[in-house]
Amino acid sequence: MIRSLRTRRSSAWSPPQSSRQKRDALFELASRIALIAERSRAYEREALSEAALVESRRALRLGLELAAAGAGADSIEAAFAANPSFTGLDPGEELELRITLVGLRGLLAREHPYALMRRMSARLGPEYFDKAEAWISYRLKRRHYHPEQLVVPGELPDIIRSLALDPRSLERCLRMAGRELCSAALAGCPQESIELAKPFFGRIGGTILEDDAAHLRSRLSGDEIAAAQSAFAEIVRSLSERGEIELGTSADFGADTAFVSGLTRAVLSLDDRLLRSALRGIDGTLLATAMQGMQPSAHDRILGAMAKRDERRLLDAIDEAQPISGNSIEEAGKRLALRLLNAAKAGRAPREALDRLSEVKSWKT
């Protein structure tokens, strides 16, 4: 039986009813709390104090002040329950208090702002589901994410790469682990692993996974991340033993290390101006595939040199990328090298750059 219903007090079965106008105003309040939650994930108490200073709604202002002073969610709820001015409220005020408390609890638990928005807007009724989704989509469009290029020792990236050969197997493991454990485990993985996992949680869920992994990377200790990775690996092992998933061989993945090193050096030998002109209008899928055959330093150089429109196209292609074989990566890298070589010749690039590009272009796969 559903736990929250089974343990519900008899007085809590009827949620407060209020007008559409009031609920619209409370939707704005929920949005504001979600934005404070977003800032407080990055700036902690400082963000809470700043938000309290400019907050006009009394309940939220008091709650933020308490949170900034170090109070936990239970203490904040007790403080409101003990305050006579927050008892005997009309239905609209009661609803506002409930949303505020749900928001503060999520904020203190460092819940992702989009998930918190889902929780808070649920208090307004199912008719606000799509409005909350539209709010999340708007935030997604304005989101700026700069992946950290980590090279972390450990077997999880290889396990994920192997699982990705059979997408159903990777999805089984991710779903069985749940998004929270996945985020903690992926906190210690390179961006490539996150990119492989994201599509299985859809556009919103995938973004939350990526944000949470980045957030946990700075919050969890090395031991905690290692424990999460062990728990994930244990799920993989047990599903594999039961014959429920297939593990491919990681050897099928990734370009030859000498190729990766050659292509990386070739890209780094070109200046930004030449790179920008060579990559103008390039097929995003080709570039995204070729970039899988480069080291992170070359990724940074390419992203830094590209025109905004080309960069967007590239990021879209990376979002949609599927795991592919090392040979396909090398083929894409060779095509990119040819394009860069033509631009380098026209732009009178140094001899050394031309030689490196020629070498990659003629690589024998």
Partner: protein, 146 residues
Amino acid sequence: MVQWNAELARRLSCKEDEKRQLGGLIRRFMSLARTARSEGFQALEGQVDESDDPLLVLGLRLVLEGLPEEALEDVLSTYLLAENRSGWPFLKACVIIEGLLALAGDDEPAVIAQKLVAYYGADRAVAVLEELEAELTATPVAEEDE
């Protein structure tokens, strides 16, 4: 310890002929779990349409997002209470929520059946479970025949 909640029991109470409709709903969740395993969770999006209960449609979208189970239960039970359902509509909504939680937890179809038959009540649950388990056992044979 089994917790009993009088208000929950009152709202769940409905006629026997209404309760018989539960079988279809339970089979639906077992089928969704099979699809999730064979074709992936994102394929579930195509398995619901506007004729379905809005709670199922919204809840499934949250399952696909990977909303953690505790948050999923919080959101769905809040929706349920906002609609102030009682009797068969309430029972049906509870089964939908329980089914969605089971899907989110990646439960096998057989486990989903075990969880959801409880809503038939103590007198009918075992018989219905035996029926559903027999169907599950028969399914692979039928597939081989094809």
